[in-house]
Subunit: 302 residues, 2 copies
């Protein structure tokens, strides 16, 4: 089992009420890959510029379960940069600057060696590009995607076309409401299911996750609450990484494996927000994950 | 086992995106009492004016488990009125008008016949009045209270004095953050515990509940999500009613009984929001509650 992820690798500058980090390693493909790599081999497809720090490349290369042969380094290009502040509200970033740079012309090419990936995660990029990835590979066992309000507003028909071809749609709550044009989250989830995906996983940040599906019972789980959230950047992609990572090892998608996948996603996201960038997420032991998984079960059991 | 509740009885005018109800039965003591009455006898202390509709009095009197001998009817007084709109956001009411009327001079007197109540719920009123109730009765087995941002802002020392004398503090998330002066909910919960109460139950509306205690393990449960929320007025007091109602029948406050209490509170609140006023909440069968309780367990089990 292995997972193909297509998404962004970025240099993030993050401000919080207490601190600031400049040009730290970020991007959807990075958070997803590191999270999923604790469970299964991950094949990454992304693009950076020639300014992308060598130590970040070495760090990614050094990860046992991450293959970055699909990470294109564009000469004379600059890496995608995102600058945001959580100084006013730790749960809602205020974007200060976005420089797409090489990411603006990202045209994902799937290396030969990646073609046997059993699971696919199309992180948040232009839905037309996400769709084009599907034509480059044999259908994986599970296709998942994410998106964002920008594409919902500007490329809804493309996103709808994509959603007819995916199994799992990861989406945050405000985006789900925007896409389904309703203020009621459960209604939004059910309306999105009618658009095509077998499963919709609505991420509510500190409020947990709502899972709705065509053929599996719905469920809801809370987030793993922490007293000290340092930087929530990447929590959603980290969640998806834990979810898909756990799922890729399961013989069947059933109610039990899907619920456990959501809990593993939740646990991985809780580690991600405990530091800037991937400092904490990138330095876990399997036992840290299992310990927190057990704690979570205790925290939520009736 | 019986529960004493001190709070408001009101005439609510509620606007939503689809409808409007004028002068319908509301108030914290009403939602709490009806919810708790499915589990245990409830003794209500509140005040209304002479304009309070007779059919509301008969309705309350007709409830098997509700004793309204402590409901004072003030001649030549007018009933507390609240007017609000959920037209823009079904989860956040915009208050259009508040007329305290007889509620402004509410000075709760506990009737003799209520003195054996084993459980007490001090609904959201002036914390000095809540404290004065304590001096009128022998200490019940469990004392719980609610409050609101207005008292946190204007009578913090009084509220802090009260919190030293209660076992359970029900509070919503924004109020908890305001009281503890932090944006982090888990930190807020732990800081509030240090102010005195054995237990703090933080109500997050459609996002569920966080439970933190001095001596019981913390837990979190999601809300029971509905596709069709008609009117969320009273959901918090209804939650407290189900919580306290269930608890009043339990020999011990332990991790198991407290978690079940939170689920019963959640279930009762889910019924309350399915109609205006207490239409749905007031017409349940025990089997409706048990059925949804089981559904909730299925929805949240990993």
């Amino acid at each position: 089992m292995s997972i193909l992820v297509v998404g962004s690798v970025a240099l993030d500058t993050i401000k919080t009420a207490f601190s600031e980090k400049i040009d730290c390693l970020g991007g959807s493909a990075v958070f997803f890959s590191i999270s999923a790599s604790y469970f299964a081999p991950v094949n990454m497809v992304a693009v950076v510029g020639e300014d992308f720090p060598k130590n970040h490349v070495s760090f990614l290369k050094s990860r046992k379960n991450i293959n970055i042969s699909g990470l294109e380094i564009k000469e004379s290009g600059k890496t995608f940069r995102w600058k945001a502040s959580y100084a006013c509200d730790i749960n809602n970033p205020q974007t200060l600057d976005t420089q797409l740079n090489v990411f603006a012309e990202f045209n994902p090419k799937i290396p030969e060696g990646y073609s046997r990936s059993t699971h696919l995660f199309l992180a948040n990029i232009d839905p037309d590009l996400q769709y084009r990835v599907l034509s480059q590979i044999q259908r994986p066992r599970v296709i998942a995607c994410d998106s964002m309000n920008y594409w919902i507003k500007t490329k809804k028909p493309s996103l709808e076309k994509l959603l007819k071809n995916v199994d799992i749609y990861f989406v945050n709550d405000s985006e789900a409401k925007l896409l389904a044009q309703t203020g009621n989250l459960m209604k939004a989830a059910k309306d999105i299911i009618k658009m095509g995906p077998e499963i919709v996983v609505i991420k509510k940040g500190e409020h947990g996750v709502l899972f709705v599906s065509k053929s599996h019972p719905s469920f809801m789980i809370p987030a793993y609450l922490l007293e000290n959230v340092i930087d929530p950047t990447g929590a959603g992609d980290t969640f998806a990484g834990g979810f898909m990572g756990y799922l890729s090892n399961q013989a069947r998608l059933n109610s039990s494996s899907l619920r456990k996948a959501a809990v593993y996603g939740t646990i991985m996201a809780s580690f991600a927000v405990e530091s800037f960038s991937v400092e904490r997420l990138g330095s876990l032991k399997k036992s840290d994950i299992e310990k927190r998984y057990k704690e979570f079960i205790k925290l939520t059991r009736v």
